[in-house]
Symmetry: C2
DNA sequence: ACTAATTTTTAGGTTTGCCTAAAAATAGAT
DNA sequence: ATCTATTTTTAGGCAAACCTAAAAATTAGT
């Protein structure tokens, strides 16, 4: 098995290697809030364990095994987030730190039973997809709310910005994931939008529009 | 906060100090499956943190603070056990290892919300009492099934032996916690008993009788 | 292309929690 | 009461995961 520290590095590399061919030591250090020298130590260890390929001075990326491992951690993280929000009345902005702890619990049975208990959710409360027990997840087309055509509608599936303030703002205006949302008008002057969600019309700022993702058919 | 290792020692001392004035280094080492020298190291640290009193060569016991801490860990452990059995279809004999991991998750909100979600259970699936958020728990009189008077009845509240085999045996014979159980007869010759549980009469061995606890009024 | 700036690695150190082996203290037996 | 056996502590080490500071490699500017 892998230590919690190893798992955290795996997760960090996974998120950083999106697109990138190789992830730099410094980028990992930034994300992990450690020093570059600590990252070098760990990269050697992950390479020894065949979880990452590591080319000194060039960078690293996860092997197939490493990606599999990352998917399992992310699966657990996101399932726990669903649990916290749906069953224990946590709000979006409170789940992250706890899920960060829960994602390291080792018990395939626990993970799979939790998945069943939650009715095999496909997305977490932020709209991010939840990998299944084999590591596969739904890669639907997400598009920024602001990129919809006027009059077009979609289902709110995710947020880019996960700052506490932003999530509180959404809660306050009762903008919920899974809600149908329709773009009615874009104000030329400041980029703000008039949208319709759950039957209510509301105005939202350019910044908010850019932080919301919708799934379109 | 306390490390996972510290928490495990606190829990071990708590369980061992029942009755005892002081718990010996060796007893702790036995329960923790470590060496006595490691225990000495940790006792010094716990004493520094005012979680235990430690008298070299004599032994240790938890301070009031240490007991409070132990109660919180036990609270979490037992709440998670209820969750696993009631919500995720785990059986008695599968919950321990997972609960052992989950008990270290740090989030008072999580613990209290879980408690609420489970409807403030008073006992875990083994019949052990669950401390409330202040560390108080119901100390009812538990008595070994074999110590009942002939004809007396009680509610099955706990098991001493938690070996897989034993728990499976109970499941197989549908002997469940919370069931009303009445002692009908003790066989002089081998100590086995005739009991009545949930309307069914069954014979159980001396060994089993000694491993079952009942709550009497 | 060569030097300067940046990035990355190496070397050596710290803390936590464990270990073994030896020394010290306590408990038990006669 | 003394000697032996057991328990406990001390001393010194090891691995994981972090750190700082210095050295080495890479990248970038002109």
């Amino acid at each position: 098995m892998h230590s919690i520290s190893e798992e955290n590095y795996i997760k960090a590399i996974y998120h950083l290697q999106e697109g990138q061919a190789l992830v730099s030591t410094n980028d990992i250090a930034g994300r992990m809030k450690t020093k570059a020298s600590s990252v070098t130590d760990m990269l050697k260890k992950l390479a020894d364990k065949k979880l990452a390929e590591y080319i000194p001075y060039k960078g690293a990326r996860l092997t197939e095994n490493g990606v599999l491992c990352a998917n399992q951690i992310i699966r657990k993280h996101r399932l726990w987030e669903v649990f916290l929000v749906e069953k224990l009345d946590f709000s979006w902005d409170e789940v992250h730190d706890v899920a960060e702890q829960l994602e390291h619990i080792q018990s395939p049975k626990l993970t799979n039973e939790l998945d069943k208990f939650l009715n095999y959710p496909k997305h977490d409360p932020h709209g991010d997809p939840i990998p299944d027990s084999k590591g596969n997840y739904e890669k639907y087309t997400q598009v920024a709310l602001g990129d919809l055509e006027i009059g077009q509608q979609g289902v709110l599936t995710g947020v880019v910005n996960t700052s506490r303030d932003f999530l509180r703002y959404l809660d306050k205006h009762e903008i919920k994931l899974g809600a149908q949302i329709q773009l009615l008008e874009i104000e030329e002057f400041d980029g703000s939008c008039r949208v319709k969600s759950d039957g209510r019309e509301l105005y939202i700022s350019k910044q908010t529009v850019e932080s919301l993702f919708v799934k379109i058919k």
